[in-house]
Symmetry: none
Subunit: 372 residues, 2 copies
DNA sequence: TCGCTTTCGATCGTTTCCGATCGTTTCGTT
DNA sequence: AACGAAACGATCGGAAACGATCGAAAGCGA
C-alpha cells in the first residue's frame, strides 16, 4: 500500500498479534506493505520493550503465569544428579580466577562439574564460547558477557532467549532491555569506592584523589561511587585530580605515575584511591623511588584486593568478594535449574569489604585549619 | 490445517495434553497437520523443558512434584542447632502474612523457631518490638521498619548498630544512610508495575491510568515503575489520571472510586493499574453497580495478588513473591548468623510475576478447529 | 542549498526448520 | 519365545527465515 510511520506499523503489528495470538512474519509483510527486514526490525523493537515474544518465523503474545493456581508444577524431574555447569569469563588472569574458583567450589559441593571457557571482553567471542559450552551439553550457564555497544545488546538478547538457564556474573542487562529476565549476581563497586573514600575521610583527609585504569569495565562504577561519596561527605572537588592511567607495564606507565604523584602533591592531595592492585603497587614503587613517603605524604587505597597484602607497605584495599560471588552465581544457576518455571528473577548484590593495612596510616595528624 | 508455527504447535500440544491427560502421537499428527517426525521433535523439545513426559506412543502430563521440593542448600557453615529468629512485621493483615509464612517455613526447615511481633508502620513501635524480641533472646532479626522521616533514619541507624544480625525485609536503608551495612531482601515493585503496563499495552491500550492507595510504602515504587514503563513505551501521559484513593472502606471511599471511574472514562482511559487487591476489587464493585463493563469499558490490573483470584471477574494481578521473599530473608539471617564477620552485605531483589486472569479481556480465543 | 542523521530496502551468506527415508527398538499378540 | 506392526532415532536435502552489510531516500537544521 503506502508508506507508514514506524509507530503506525507497531500499532498494526500489535493489533495483529492481539487478534490472532500468533502471527507469521510473512503475514506482517503482506499486511504492512513493508519489506521483511523492516518488519523484523519493528518486531525486535517491540520484543525489546517486552510487548511481544519473537519465535522463529513470527511472533506470539508474551507468556505469563497460568491463571489457574495449579500446584507447583515446578520440578522437571528432580534437579539432575550431576549437573554440568558452563561458565564464560572474560579473562582468567585478572579478577576472575577467584570468581571461577568460587563457582567451582559451589558446583562441586552440589555434586556437579564446572566447565570453563575463557573469552576476552568481546561479544562475538563470548557468543562463540557459549555455543561451545552448549554443544558440550551444559545444563546451565554462568556468563560475564560484554554488554557494551550494539553487539552487547545483541548478545544479551540472545542469552535471554536461550533455553538453558543463564546467570549473569558481574553484569546486568543494559537499560535498553529492561525486561530481560535473567538472574544476576553483581558486586556494588560504587559502594566499594565509597568505603574507601569514607575510610580516608575518617583518617582526616578531605582532598581525596582517584586513579582509574583505562579499559576496565568497573571503572565507571568506581568513578560514580567516588563522586557520590565525595559529594555526600561534602568534600572538595576542585583541584582534586581524577586521572586515568595506561595499563601497568606499558611504555608510558612510569611517566603517567609520575604525573599522578606530581598532580596530587601539587594539589595538596595526600590520599588517593587507585583502581586495581597492580596500578596501586606501581604508585607505591614510584613513590618510594622518588622519596615520597607512604602513607606520610600520600595515603593509598587500592581497589581490588588481589595482591595488595604483599606490597610494601601493605596496601589498605577494597576487597570485592569474588569467591563468594562466584559461588552465589553458581547457586543461583543450580536453583534455577531445579525450578525453571515458577522461580522469579533473582538479582543479588554483594558489597565489597575494606581491608585496612598500612598504606593509609592509622593515625591522623592533627589537621591545621580544621574548620566547619 | 496448513503450516503452523512451532510455537503454535507447542501451544496446541500442551493444551491437548492438559485436557486429555495423555495423548497418542498419531492424534497429534492429525491435530497439527504436521508430519510425525516434526511432532516427535516438538514433543522432545517440550519434554526437555519438562512440560510433558514422553511415553512410548505418546505423551502424558508431568507428575506434580511434592509441594516443597527444595533441598537444603546454600547455607554454608555450621548454624546454631536451634536458632531463635525474631521478626517484626508492620502488619499481620495485609501483604505480610505470606511473607511471615515464608520466613516461618524457612526457619523451621533449618530447625529453628520464628518469633513474630506485629507493629504498625510506626518507628517508635518498631523499636519497642525489636527490644522485646531482644529481651526474648532472639539471635537474629528480620525487620520491616518504617524508614520515613527523621524517626525512620534514626531507627535504621539503631538497627545497623545492633549486635545481632538484622535483615531488612521489603525495605532498604534511606538514601541518607547509604552505607548502613544491613542485609536486605526486597521486591522490585517498579518492575512489577512495568509488567502490568506492558501487559495492558500488548492488549492494545495506550492510555493507561494509575490508582495508588495512600499511605502504602510501596506506592512510590509503583508510581515510578508506571512512569518509566509509560515513557519507555512512548505512551501518552497527558490527561491520563494518576490518582490516590483513601483506604478501602473509609467514608470517602465510594466517592473516590466514582471519581476514579469518571476521570478514566472522561479521559478516554480504558485501562488502569490499581495498587492493592482491596482497592481493585472496590473499583470492580463500583463499576458493576454503575453499569461500567469490566473489562469491556475498563480493564483493571491489580497490584498484589492476595485475593485477586476470587473477585468477579477474576483480576489479572501482579504477584509479588511474598512467600519466597520471607524464606529468602530468613535464609539470609541464618547464613549471617553462621558467619557474622566475613560475610559481605547481601542485597537480594526479587521480581514479581504477572498472573493473567479475566479483568483485562485477553479476548483472543486461540484457534479452534480441534476436537475436544 | 548543503550536510547530517534517521529510516527503509536490496542483497548475500548463514542458520534454522521441516519432511522423507531407512535401519533399529519397543510393544502386543500368538 | 517369536513374530509383525508401530514407534523411534539418525541422517540428508530443500526451503524458509535470519542477520549483516551496504546503499538509497527522506527528514531536519544551519
Amino acid at each position: 500500500m503506502n508508506q507508514k510511520l514506524a509507530a503506525q506499523r507497531h500499532e498494526l503489528i500489535l493489533r495483529a498479534v492481539r487478534t490472532h495470538g500468533t502471527v507469521r512474519l510473512q503475514e506482517l509483510v503482506d499486511l504492512l506493505g513493508a519489506s521483511a527486514v523492516t518488519v523484523r526490525r519493528d518486531v525486535t523493537a517491540l520484543a525489546d520493550r517486552g510487548l511481544v515474544v519473537r519465535v522463529h518465523g513470527g511472533i506470539t503474545m508474551p507468556k505469563h503465569a497460568e491463571p489457574f493456581p495449579r500446584g507447583p508444577q515446578s520440578v522437571v524431574g528432580p534437579a539432575p544428579a550431576h549437573p554440568l555447569v558452563g561458565m564464560v569469563a572474560p579473562s582468567v588472569e585478572y579478577y576472575w580466577p577467584a570468581v571461577i574458583q568460587g563457582a567451582q567450589t559451589a558446583v562441586a559441593a552440589a555434586g556437579g562439574r564446572l566447565v570453563l571457557r575463557a573469552s576476552s571482553y568481546d561479544a562475538a567471542e563470548d557468543r562463540r564460547r557459549v555455543c561451545e559450552l552448549l554443544d558440550r551439553g551444559v545444563q546451565t550457564l554462568l556468563v560475564a558477557p560484554s554488554t557494551s555497544g550494539r553487539a552487547g545488546v545483541e548478545l544479551l538478547r540472545w542469552l535471554g532467549a536461550l533455553t538453558v538457564p543463564v546467570v549473569l556474573v558481574e553484569r546486568l542487562p543494559p537499560p535498553e532491555l529492561p525486561t530481560t529476565a535473567l538472574d544476576a549476581a553483581v558486586t556494588d563497586h560504587a559502594i566499594g569506592a565509597g568505603l574507601a573514600v569514607r575510610h580516608l575521610a575518617t583518617l582526616g583527609h578531605r582532598r581525596i584523589g582517584l586513579v582509574t585504569s583505562r579499559q576496565s569495565p568497573h571503572s565507571d562504577a568506581i568513578r560514580t561511587g567516588w563522586t557520590t561519596a565525595v559529594s555526600s561527605l561534602e568534600l572538595p572537588f576542585n583541584g582534586v585530580p581524577v586521572l586515568d592511567v595506561p595499563p601497568y607495564g606499558s611504555p608510558q606507565w612510569t611517566r603517567a605515575v609520575d604525573e599522578v604523584i606530581d598532580e596530587c602533591l601539587a594539589a595538596d592531595v595526600h590520599a588517593v584511591l587507585v583502581h586495581a592492585d597492580r596500578e596501586a603497587i606501581g604508585v607505591l614503587e614510584r613513590a618510594r623511588d622518588r622519596g615520597v613517603q607512604v602513607p606520610g605524604d600520600l595515603a593509598v587505597v587500592s581497589y581490588d584486593d588481589e595482591v595488595a597484602a604483599a606490597s610494601d607497605p601493605p596496601l589498605t584495599a577494597v576487597r570485592p568478594q569474588k569467591h563468594r560471588l562466584g559461588a552465589l552465581a553458581a547457586q543461583l544457576a543450580l536453583a534455577r535449574l531445579a525450578d525453571p518455571l515458577d522461580r522469579p528473577v533473582h538479582r543479588v548484590v554483594l558489597w565489597p569489604t575494606l581491608t585496612v593495612r598500612e598504606s593509609c596510616g592509622t593515625a591522623l595528624e592533627p589537621q591545621k585549619g580544621w574548620t566547619s
